[in-house]
């Protein structure tokens, strides 16, 4: 293999070529775009196409001026709308994560302890909605929750209520939508973790006089810590920036940061403000992403 030796002499190896393509792709289309967002978040808004002023400008013949503009960030901190949107997004994402845990943990536990054949069927049933369009599944809740929707019709026909309940376009609808859409993301990593559990530990604890819930609290719960964290992160991080669910179920008053960013961009054409929102959101989420990655690394290390 003469050519490969020649290539190796100038520092190119077969291995390098394998990872180079995805590496360059992600650099160009994932990392560089963030730098551009950062740059535009410091630009002036302009009534032009594209709607922002350049950061670098030639003034005179030989001098290049850099105009860094902090107005967009100052604006985000003076108008209380943005801070409230950030606060509300964190609150909604946090509460939704807790609700997902409350519903998903017993389900993951039940699946992990089922017989092998049943387990595969149950797992398939969790995965199936995950493959079906998110948009369509959120849409289904409009039909269930609206004033003359399925839930109201059923409750009215049984005489449980006499007036239709207002559920659609409320915070309640938004929580239902988020928990519903993200539940499989929590169940799957948690199941993967619980599946590796040595259940004899529980039997031993019970033999030694632990009550079942005590054994659960002292053994199962601490041992599934990584699964809980990984699943919660997969719900929490995307939910903070969620756009579709608040837009469809939350009504006009559902103040979520993903929606604010969307409106700044599409309705107001304020690209620099939208970029500043994105940068702040990113700063907020990066610690959680790094936490998620370290939890994942521990999980895979444990699996080998």
């Amino acid at each position: 293999m003469r050519t490969s030796q020649q290539l190796q002499r100038i520092g190119i190896s077969g291995r390098g070529l394998v990872v180079a393509l995805p590496y360059l792709w992600l650099m160009l289309f994932f990392v560089v775009p963030f730098l551009i967002v950062l740059k535009i978040s410091f630009s002036d808004i302009d009534l032009a196409i594209p709607p922002y002023k350049p950061l670098l400008e030639w003034v005179g013949r030989n001098s290049l001026a850099i105009k860094v503009n902090f107005n967009n960030y100052a604006f985000l901190f003076t108008d209380s709308l943005y801070l409230r949107a950030f606060g509300n997004s964190i609150k909604v994402a946090f509460v939704s994560t807790l609700l997902c845990l409350a519903i998903g943990y017993p389900m993951a536990y039940g699946i992990a302890r089922a017989k092998a054949a049943t387990r595969n069927v149950l797992l398939l049933l969790v995965i199936l909605p995950f493959w079906t369009s998110l948009l369509l599944r959120v849409y289904a809740w409009i039909g269930l929750l609206k004033a003359n929707g399925v839930i109201n019709n059923v409750l009215l026909s049984f005489g449980i209520i006499h007036e239709p309940l207002t559920m659609l376009y409320t915070p309640f609808a938004m929580y239902v939508g988020i928990v519903y859409s993200y539940l499989p993301f929590l169940i799957l990593p948690l199941y993967a973790n619980l599946e590796k559990m040595d259940w004899q530990l529980l039997e031993a604890a019970e033999d030694l006089g632990c009550r079942p819930w005590q054994a659960f609290y002292k053994i199962t719960l601490p041992l599934s810590r990584n699964g809980i964290l990984a699943g919660s992160m997969l719900v929490f991080i995307p939910a903070v920036g969620e756009f579709v669910i608040p837009a469809l179920l939350g009504g006009p008053n559902a103040l979520m940061i993903g929606r604010v960013l969307w409106d700044e961009f599409f309705s107001n054409r304020a690209w620099p403000v939208a970029s500043a929102v994105a940068i702040l959101l990113l700063i907020l989420l990066v610690p959680f992403m790094m936490w998620y990655q370290s939890v994942q690394a521990r999980e895979t290390a444990g699996a080998r």
Binding site: T132, L144, N153
Partner: protein, 275 residues
Amino acid sequence: MNYRSSYFVLTCLGLGFAFLYIPILSMVVFSFNASKLVTVWDAAHSPTLKWYVALLHNEEILDAAWISVKVALINASGSVILGTLAGFGLARFTQFRGRFTLNAMTTAPLVMPEVITGLSLLLMFVALEQLIGWPAGRGITTMTIAHMTFSMAYVTVIVNSRLATFDTALEEAAMDLGAHPLKVFFVITLPIIFPAILSGWLLAFTLSWDDLVISSFTSGPGSSTLPMVVFSKVRLGVSPEINVLATITIAVVSTMIVGVSLWMARKARLERVVA
């Protein structure tokens, strides 16, 4: 092991699955409802297929579906190539410069809020166009590049975890016997990871087919995808044709998923018999 799930766990499972499936079933049931009110059952004229016929004559939806199919097909094939390379590299090359970065770059898109990815890619395309004149405007090309960027991350994770469960003995044996690394990859590694590549392809297709947010940012005039059309319709309320669309989607997805998992279960059994 003689463990029997407690009534508490069984109740939670039952309620949880009811929660997951009642909305899906309701869409299926009401897709056969004659009434334009969608959720009020018109017992006199239902069940009916009239909304199925209406959907098949809806040019707007059909055109958008065609664009979505094209983007999803190119995206799935492209991200399988990129994702397999990255997943293989991460699993088999334990040390190389940039390993940490590559790992981070393939994990971050999984949790990154879509509005951020969408905005950053759009600004990138605009800046590139100003700089080198490519891509001229936005449309199917920019959308496909955007989809590949997040889809390949999923393929990487799937391929990487499949390779992690296989030890390198077979590959090493082939290399000891003098096979060229490329030959080892195509003759030994590729068949091993084929199920992972297949699931990766299907997942990448679905992710692209479903995506609304990133497509809205990176598409141009005349390249509205199916989710974009559905979103603009659904914003105005429920529509019987969307229920039909949902029912067809559910039917296709469940057939595919059940088919693939049966095939994989059989393959896994065969592997156990051989081993």
